[in-house]
Symmetry: C2
Subunit: 302 residues, 2 copies
Amino acid sequence: MEKKLSREHVFYAFSPDLEPAMQVAQGEEFVLETHDCFSGQLRSEKDLLDALDWDRINPATGPVRVEGVQPGDVVRVDLLKVQVVNQATMVTLPGEGALGDRITEMETAILKYEGGKVVFRDRIEIPMAPMVGVIGLAPAEGKVPNGEPGAHGGNMDCTLITEGASVYFTASVPGALFGCGDFHAVMGDGEIVICGAETPGEIRLRAQVVPALKGLPTPFVETSDLVSTIASASSLDQAGSDATHNMADFLTRFAGLLVNDAGMLMSLVGQLKVCQVVDPQKTARFEFPKWVLKEYGFELPN
Amino acid sequence: MEKKLSREHVFYAFSPDLEPAMQVAQGEEFVLETHDCFSGQLRSEKDLLDALDWDRINPATGPVRVEGVQPGDVVRVDLLKVQVVNQATMVTLPGEGALGDRITEMETAILKYEGGKVVFRDRIEIPMAPMVGVIGLAPAEGKVPNGEPGAHGGNMDCTLITEGASVYFTASVPGALFGCGDFHAVMGDGEIVICGAETPGEIRLRAQVVPALKGLPTPFVETSDLVSTIASASSLDQAGSDATHNMADFLTRFAGLLVNDAGMLMSLVGQLKVCQVVDPQKTARFEFPKWVLKEYGFELPN
């Protein structure tokens, strides 16, 4: 019988004190249904942000307890399938986001899905590229609201986190306590008005400890052709510096490169990129191509 | 007879006081040979940075006076052909760049060109992607060293500035006084160790005023499939914000989008990206796809 959590099993802050909603074995597949970031409260263009119940913002489905995970373990989460359903919602709010000083009217836009496209204003057909905005594990202590990104993951809004990707986290509590939500049918790097095409969805996942990667600078993403560090900080400058240093650490400590080779190759074929600039903590990533790692004889262990 | 400047015609700071090295008509093609950013001083791996004459860093070839350009004019510079020659050089220097705290040894690496690849350590064959690091016009007053980026252009290190692209600047002086140099055979966004594959090169160009774009937020880049603003500031956060606002201004003032549509589309299909984080002034860009502009009935005028 398939393990599946409906989108009624949500939490609003990552915390070691959460009760697990489900337990899975390492490597066992499971499915989570997710709400959009508004918990489905904005159903039409007449539903504006000023009527929102802000206590129900940024739900994540879970938490899922992964058997046998201990604090300090590096856990690889494989995103086997990511789907979005129904329709997407976008909003503008004066004063909010990277263009808050230019936006004068609160507005809600509904974007329909048609043949693999997300349709904006019944006119602009954007190829769908579903991604997961909030994904993470419980921190060691306290409560981190789902709207915040951090070392535990959370609201990183990283466009690499999509079907086929694997995301690596460091567990802080026994069982890891995993959760995710806040899918976007499509989103650009930056997330300028604080939202992508916000959408409910469904995701098929698998999680397991990778002992050989203990000490990996996390969060860390692997796609078919690249690896990427992710870091969040109060400034984009600091987040970028942290992501850059984490990649240098990965290349020297795990992939065995000399520091000068790592630095020069990061300057030649590495890409420092922006995830989001609209939360109090900004998020950056540093991407590095897997083909170069392969030339150095390195592949990520299973 | 083709108009061409050899790489002996260089300057080290953009300034209205420079004597033109060549004059061209609007729309007339011309060719510039360029030095690498070290003026060719590092020819082998034995030539280290500590022996460098720092007065000969970041040469740009020019300046080229473009007939009929007046202050306030928006000048489009078309990069018709960009070639790199000889070999590329990279360096590391403890304390410098985004990994200066990790790098302990000064080193020079020479990268050969073989069959369209840039070869690092005789082992890693990177597809060549020549780009122009320094490109700009004279500012209204003073001297801006070529190592600095700014409103006039300069050392923006934007990987979009390559063969086939057009770069738009606002002229500050009669004749514009254009120059460029600091080519890279390949470079990643961020330019982590302060250099890409530094190389001499040759470029074929054409410049002309575009009256219909007067007031365009510049510097601005156009490629076959996107437009991009570029902005530089003392923090990456500010540079990113400036690039974002400039794109919103372009979309609302020139392409005719409502501000909410501009913001939502920038959040959906726009990309806030990093150019470089290793100069005192950091550089960011905001990319927006041309196909969306076309759906709104807008094309850049000639």
